[in-house]
Amino acid sequence: MYNQTLSDASLIGCPHCDLLQRLPALAPGESARCPRCDEELWRRPAHSLDRPLALTIAAALLYIVANSVPMLGLKVVGREASTTVFGGASHLWTAGWESVAVLVLFTAVVAPGLQIGFMLAILIGARRDRPPKWVGRLLRHYPTAATWSMIEVMILGVLVALIKIADYAKVIPGVALFVLGALIFLIAAIEASFDPREVWDRVEWAESTAKQHAAGERTSEATL
């Protein structure tokens, strides 16, 4: 059973305090906060589809490189060893720590991949006048992928590990480490330049009758 839509589409409830309020129309670069709890309700960046798309394509390329080359290596008494991001998780698995291996693989490889992949698909799909339903479905699950994508935390962990190991071996930072460092900034820039509301406002509705209803309302509002 679907809920009924309201006639006034600018009414919202604050996600952090439930205050019923009207979301003002914002110009690009402006943001709106809840007057009661100070939660940021909407921030509208300029070029909120083109800019994140360019950044996401770059992020996708870096992601591929970061996961195919070694991230760090070491050299001690003539012996060398190196590992990729995936290698870290697979070592845990073979050493018998499957649950931690799955967590590391998920937060360091799978979730960032989903985050970038979802964003790429959302931005490409949102270029149509009426983004299809699957865009909404991906956008609905995007925050979960973003929450569990922990590249920046991993980088800090790797740096700590490097310095610990440097006490008794020569450590060699790999190419992937620098690529991942750049990827952190790209992902932050994607998040800052993307406006989910812009996509939600145009996406095809889950309930098709509601969609027609809303479309009818939108045109009637436009003529008023």
């Binding site: 059973m1 679907y2 809920n3 009924q4 839509t5 309201l6 009414l11 919202i12 409830g13 996600p15 952090h16 305090c17 439930d18 205050l19 019923l20 009661r36 709890c37 100070d38 939660e39 991230m71 760090l72 070491l74 001690v76 012996r79 060893a81 590992t83 290698g87 870290g88 070592h91 845990l92 050493a95 649950s99 931690v100 967590l103 590391v104 937060t107 360091a108 909404g136 956008l139 609905r140 929450t147 922990m150 935390v153 800090l156 962990g157 740096l159 700590v160 590990a161 310095i163 610990k164 190991i165 008794y168 071996a169 509301r197 939600w200 996406v203 509705w205 889950a206 309930e207 509601a210």
Partner: protein, 213 residues
Amino acid sequence: MSTAVLTAMQQGLQTCEACGLLSRPAPGEIEGHCPRCDEELSFRKPASLQRTWALLIAAAVCYIPANILPVLTTTTAQGAETDTILQGVVLLWSPTGWPLSLIVLIASIMIPIGKIAALAFLLVTVQRGSIRSNKQRVRLYRMVEFIGRWSMVDVFVDTFTAALVQLQPLMAVEPASGLVFFAAVVVLTMLAAESFDPRLIWDPSSSREVRHA
């Protein structure tokens, strides 16, 4: 009535957690799906207090073995040696390495216990119907949400140390059982923060203001 604070719930309206759309349950229904994105809707996160308590207690239980049991085993020609998280912090402490030692101390020991304490405080104040310092409490919740992921640092430190230091027979590092509990603490506290509904902080004040209006 015009000065009273009105919430979406008091008006019988539900906010979609996924897409933000405000909608009204169909006549005779209590809950429904979001017409825009198909998410299941409710006025407040379902069983928010029970779920958050359950996850939080599980996290607190895991926090003890996570700190007592070793997270790494180092095997050298001289034999095997184990390190707990706190020993790792002490080991890193040196004239040049102290900033890193501090990072691990904060991320691995202070953030998890701080998160557990903060969420417990929020749950208790919500259950007692507190109307005091709502703004500070919601700010505390945002901090918990934002900072939680950084506890994962130690999991990554141990993972990559173990993956790299495989120099048998000179030296080999392997994870130890404490790491599983530590990882569980991080995941459980993140899930606990996610299942808490910050709107519950404001509900007692909202209903009071409407009653007095």
